[in-house]
Subunit: 467 residues, 2 copies
């Protein structure tokens, strides 16, 4: 929780731009304090840095128009989707204009024959899946929050079923984006693969609004599987659970989800949801495929779990029982909060090679104990990605300082294991110091790209790169 | 076949650099004409533009040292792997130094528990797979040629089983690269996913040596499947074959390969390999999975093929029979050449959304007829990627001109269908005009990136971007 500093404000430019945009955007332009603060909203411990105004864009042209005005006067532009990012991505440390894309919420086309669709950035993943359901299709990336697809693209989001379907980088075919000078580009066509020049699609995915604002996204879709099977299994230790995950991956078992809950989370869920799960580390799984295929997968998993001392194995195919089985995972966040009423949960997000997952999780638990912190862990174990949630009394400065030490230590640990300080939340404001530790000279190359594409540093300044 | 023009040569710089590098690299430095011409080798109709010297690099430090000397004197540097690229990628239109990476051929580490490995760029895909076999692992990307993994990374290669395993963009976890100023960067750690800043890995993949020289690659591996099943099926028309491909993709059938051969190719193979296949469009497939899984996949495929008038369906599981079944595909190149003895085969490489594949292939056949050209087609149908191979008498200027018209027309057709002028071969010299037609203003952004990272345009000049 090194709090982000305020950056120098271009007061003259901001005043000029506010005047122009108010004229140009009429009721789409808002400066009320509540609206501004909501657009500097952070879901974590990072302080609010509100923009000077919010524009509710309705079209790519709106975005391009607004960016051109801001570019002419060197005023920051910050893209806003649903505000569910976790590292201060939508903050406005130098002030400027927030461009709210939530009204650009149309699904523009669905090409069922090609398993793709084109959407505006404000479409949320749940809205897209509702839209697709009748056609037997779904979009697999599920970061938990009902985030906008623009925001998910901008932060390279993933979530529970990345182990099978990949992250946003694997599921975005092309984007349309407004660049820092207001130019609109499209990064690719609709072919499933291409070797046509630099991969601008992947450059925009994960760029967190610092290179351009994404105004359309072409996404890869999946057919809704014929059968979905779920399973859960308890393990005597974190090592045993993680060994099982490694076996699953090495075996090539195409699990759709494989989530790890540490003993503290299981205990929390038992209390919160009145369950009686064994209070040891647990894996929760989902299998997608044909009827025979998911049955075979579940059986293979049970065999692999057995080899590592798995117990209390349960599997099911009906939706109702599946939901019950997964209840522990769905309730985990609220159950963890209930461990310490009144606390704030601050999420961490490291990712390590799977062979190091057990070491990392065990060390993270020990470090939290050492620092006197409560930090239950859930993980997207198939990717080696886990979240220790720090349950903090934010009024206790000493505890907050110890939490800061923990976060910094955890990032260093992951980096020392050839992992990353962020598996899916992104860098934003909060992770900037760790990015440099992680990638060294490569961060200079990122800086060169940023300066080339945004020489006046107007696109979401103060994010990703060191100041 | 718009032949690449020679670009202005920095004669003073080149002379200086030759003197320095000869001292510095001793026997690793070569200027013999045969060696130089071999390093300007093109496998297609693009003329040879030899470099002024070749350095056989043995380490990242060698590459960095050579690049630094060239950077200081603004002399071009061209990376060379195996020379199997198809669009003039290794040509030296402004002269300069070819850096041959074939001696950097060590597999540096294999992490079986994480399904990844780290290799030097000169390791070929066959050498890697030989190295991995004992551990039950394989690297799935197979572009046909026994290319180097550095070259495959630099061109974003793919091939027959991209439909299941993706392209190089999906299978490269991280690269080490020497940038235009000689700085060495590593783009990522070894975690399976990351949201840490701009995706420099994907920026380097497909950059064709124009942004930096790849000196190490961390690759994702796969377990060798328990069972491999093959099948082939003939169809009354291209439309019927392509409809079947679309059904396969929509059904979510995880085919490892699904290759289309048009009637002319089947006829060529019958003649060349003494087979008696029905001389109609054919699909060849491979399924990877468990014993039960591949059997189920083959059965589902046969059902989908039936619905589209498929006939002469054959499936097999033994290696010997599988090889026999795939013989038609493996022999296709030589069989096509035999259709017109003494001809040169010039490959094209468009990729369209699968729903447009039938239209595109039918139109391509008709256009070849209209222009009096022989252009049999094979395709990685599951990706919508196909290659019409022009069988040309290169001494017939009129025919070559018609071939040029065909290539240009085909690229435009693919682009008009929201596809791409190159699915897997890359832009190099040959496809530069089409890149602009395809991506418009996005190519300006690519130019901005190139100038930012390589302000003196020394990294493989004359490739990808318009001059």
């Amino acid at each position: 929780m090194v709090q982000p500093t305020d950056l120098p404000r271009n007061e003259t430019g901001i005043a000029t731009v506010l005047g122009i945009l108010k004229q140009q955007f009429a009721e789409q332009f808002q400066t009320g304090q509540a609206i501004r603060e909501q657009h500097g909203h952070t879901t974590t411990w990072i302080k609010n840095q509100a923009p000077d105004a919010v524009i509710f864009a309705r079209s790519t042209q709106d975005v391009a128009d607004a960016v051109k005005v801001c570019a002419a006067h060197k005023v920051p532009v910050i893209a806003f989707g649903t505000g569910t990012s976790l590292e201060g991505h939508v903050n406005a440390p130098a002030g400027g204009i927030s461009i709210d894309l939530s009204q650009m919420d149309r699904v523009l086309e669905v090409n069922a024959g090609d398993l793709d669709c084109r959407v505006q950035p404000g479409v949320t993943r749940e809205a897209l899946n509702t839209h697709l359901r009748d056609q037997g299709l779904f979009f697999p990336i599920d970061p938990g929050a009902n985030a906008s697809l623009g925001g998910m693209t901008a932060t390279r989001a993933s979530g529970t079923n990345a182990v099978r379907y990949g992250t946003m980088k694997d599921n975005v075919i092309s984007v349309e984006a407004v660049m820092a000078d207001g130019t609109v580009i499209r990064t690719a066509g609709r072919a499933r693969k291409s070797s046509a020049g630099y991969d601008l699609t992947r450059l925009m995915v994960g760029s967190e609004g610092t290179l351009g604002i994404i105004t359309e996204i072409t996404l890869r879709l999946q057919g809704i599987p014929e059968a979905i099977n779920s399973a859960r299994c308890s393990f005597p230790s974190l090592e045993a659970a993680c060994e099982t995950v490694m076996s699953v991956i090495q075996f090539g078992l195409p699990v759709a989800r494989i989530e790890l809950l540490d003993a503290m989370v299981v205990k929390a869920v038992n209390g919160y949801s009145k369950l009686s799960l064994p209070e040891t580390p647990m894996l929760l799984l989902e299998f997608h495929g044909s009827e025979a295929g998911v049955a075979e997968q579940a059986e293979t998993f049970s065999m692999l779990a057995d080899e590592n001392g798995g117990s209390d194995y349960q599997a099911t195919t009906t939706v109702e029982e599946r939901n019950k089985l997964w209840q522990a995972r769905h309730d985990a966040y609220w159950a963890m909060l209930a461990l310490r009423p009144g606390c704030k949960a601050v999420a961490t997000d490291v990712c390590v090679p799977i062979s190091r997952l057990a070491d990392a999780v065990v060390a993270a638990n020990a470090k939290a104990d050492e620092l006197g912190l409560i930090a239950p862990i859930v993980g997207h174990a198939g990717d080696g990605n886990f979240h220790a949630s720090l349950l903090l009394d934010m009024d206790n400065a000493d505890e907050v300082a110890r939490a800061e030490e923990y976060v910094s230590w955890l990032s260093s640990l992951a980096i020392s294991m050839e992992g990353t300080c962020t598996g899916e939340h992104g860098i934003g404001q909060g992770k900037r110091p760790y990015l440099v530790s992680e990638l060294g000279a490569a961060v200079d190359v990122m800086g060169t790209l940023k300066r080339a594409l945004d020489p006046d540093n107007i696109m979401n300044p103060g994010k990703i790169l060191p100041n």
